[in-house]
Point group: C2
Chain length 325, copies 2
């Protein structure tokens, strides 16, 4: 990609061109050569959006809840970005027709930007790309960004790490929910939603979650509320928006918003630096040649991966002391 094309794209992006925004996100997601340059140029525009994570097991109604949330935020004139990391979400094309029809309004609203992430590849890579796509939407000026992830057992903790407020969505009949909660969702929720709460067992579920929350070690004065919603009927959505707003205020007042920003910048700087250091270490042909030779030694049983790595380090230290790299 030529320098001028990148500049033009940025120019269009800054003018608020939705297609340009989509192209920047695609570049970031595909990790193209100019992705770094684009993110660098957009960085000064980031740090303003409120990022909300919505997670829970499949079938909990997360997407409908996300759509309801987005609608409610839109009614207060705030622009919304939706990032679906959940492959079963209608936003990623994974749901039944009924849901999509219900979401038509969002899809045609110019104040809403919907992006679905390809969930292939390693979790670590996916989490980084998700955060970067959120950065792009943030820079584009979306006031609120909602990230939908599917959380079963092994939660996408890395993705949750990138948001400010996390909503955990459960349904009354999920007997497994308690297991799921034990498995990690309990620790990450700033707010719990018992969705489809017109079904039997909703009140019991609320009590169970509240009981478990009492056992949660607390480093933060915020006590996660447990709400009941019926997202398909819009019930409980106003309360959800109100409580989410309280959490936002709490984050700002307690300086946690600022701490989070510092932490996220440090993480990003560290990641970018580590990436470059590794590139430098592998840049010399000597290292690659030695690596191949050592690999054969390990295969032949004459060395181990651990000793081979130490041998590679000696090579690097030697190259450094000779001023080769």
């Amino acid at each position: 990609v030529s320098e001028s094309t990148t500049s033009e794209l940025l120019e269009q992006f800054r003018r608020g061109d939705r297609r340009a925004c989509g192209r920047v996100m695609s570049a970031v997601e595909a990790e193209t050569d100019d992705a770094g340059r684009l993110l660098d140029a957009l960085f000064p525009l980031t740090g303003r959006a409120w990022r909300i994570g919505v997670t829970g097991p499949p079938g909990a109604g997360k997407s409908t809840l996300v759509a309801g949330l987005a609608g409610a935020f839109r009614r207060t004139q705030r622009t919304v970005g939706i990032v679906a990391v959940d492959p079963t979400s209608p936003f990623t094309g994974g749901a039944v027709l009924g849901d999509r029809v219900r979401m038509t309004e969002l899809f045609t609203d110019s104040g809403v930007f919907i992006r679905s992430m390809a969930t292939r590849g390693s979790m670590g890579g996916l989490a980084v790309r998700t955060r970067e796509v959120c950065d792009v939407l943030d820079a584009f000026g979306q006031d609120i960004i909602i990230v939908e992830t599917v959380g079963v057992g092994q939660m996408e903790l890395d993705v949750v790490d990138a948001v400010h407020s996390t909503v955990v969505v459960l349904v009354p009949e999920s007997g497994d929910a308690i297991q799921t909660l034990k498995a990690g969702l309990m620790e990450i929720g700033d707010l719990f939603c018992v969705n489809k709460s017109d079904r039997e067992g909703a009140d019991r579920m609320v009590m169970e979650i509240e009981g478990m929350l009492e056992l949660r070690p607390r480093s933060d004065p915020w006590v996660p509320p447990v709400l009941k919603t019926v997202a398909t009927a819009g019930a409980g959505m106003e309360e959800l928006v109100r409580v989410l707003g309280s959490h936002y205020e709490h984050l700002v007042k307690s300086q946690r918003m600022l701490e989070r920003r510092i932490q996220s910048i440090r993480q990003e700087m560290r990641r970018l630096f580590d990436e470059r250091v590794i590139q430098l270490a592998w840049a010399s042909d000597d290292v690659s040649l030695l690596f191949d030779g050592l690999c054969q030694e390990v295969m032949a049983g004459r060395s181990t991966p651990y000793r081979a790595a130490e041998r590679l380090m000696e090579q690097i230290r030697g190259a450094i002391s000779k001023g080769v790299i």
Copy 2:
């Protein structure tokens, strides 16, 4: 941990002491200081076990299937290791009593070693630790290692990468299964099990999976079979063991077993080397100081993480050319 304690532990491990094996796995899982030394010492004993991954959505009956498989392998005098990465698995203490009673036999069999992984932390870290725990069981002499992971939407691809044969378990009524398959499970299965196949819709499900498999791009002559099982009743387990055996033969004959071993050693060497290179880069106080300063500049809007990382690289290159590191 003193040198002598580590040597003693290894001595006991090599004599086949189950408690020593448990202690080594705990050290590896907790990433203690001597974990690397232990893995290094055990490395020459690895590379013999056949590693089987069993994955699928919660409630598909994976654990019962794993127990059935383990039992079948035991009847052919092969020792078995079970690694449960699934937090809802009875092996990790996450299931109903009924399942555990059914598994009593395995828990008291000295030819079976069961290990459940704490699934906290990042996915990348979990995948590495899971592979290392498999290495320990491999070195301990388990002939077959079965890794149970929960796969919903975002599959633990990194974990699956560490096994030779992957079984994807589904149930007839999971309408979501098709979505799940589209979301990544389709690509990774060497064998598909429609479990609880005494329920309605099993045959249709088999046909649907077979239909989708025809669309799968194929780099391997192996065509994944789709089996029907009722794991709780043991139905279809013999066929499952037989077909898994064919896959093993295919892996050996087609040299894929050897290729996988080479690939895994290369990956491990690369990971260990990269880890050490990053440690070296951060070893100097100058880098840490500069990092903190740059972080403040970025926060103040006078730089970006990308430019800050470049500046850190200049510092490293400078230190190298001066022979400081």
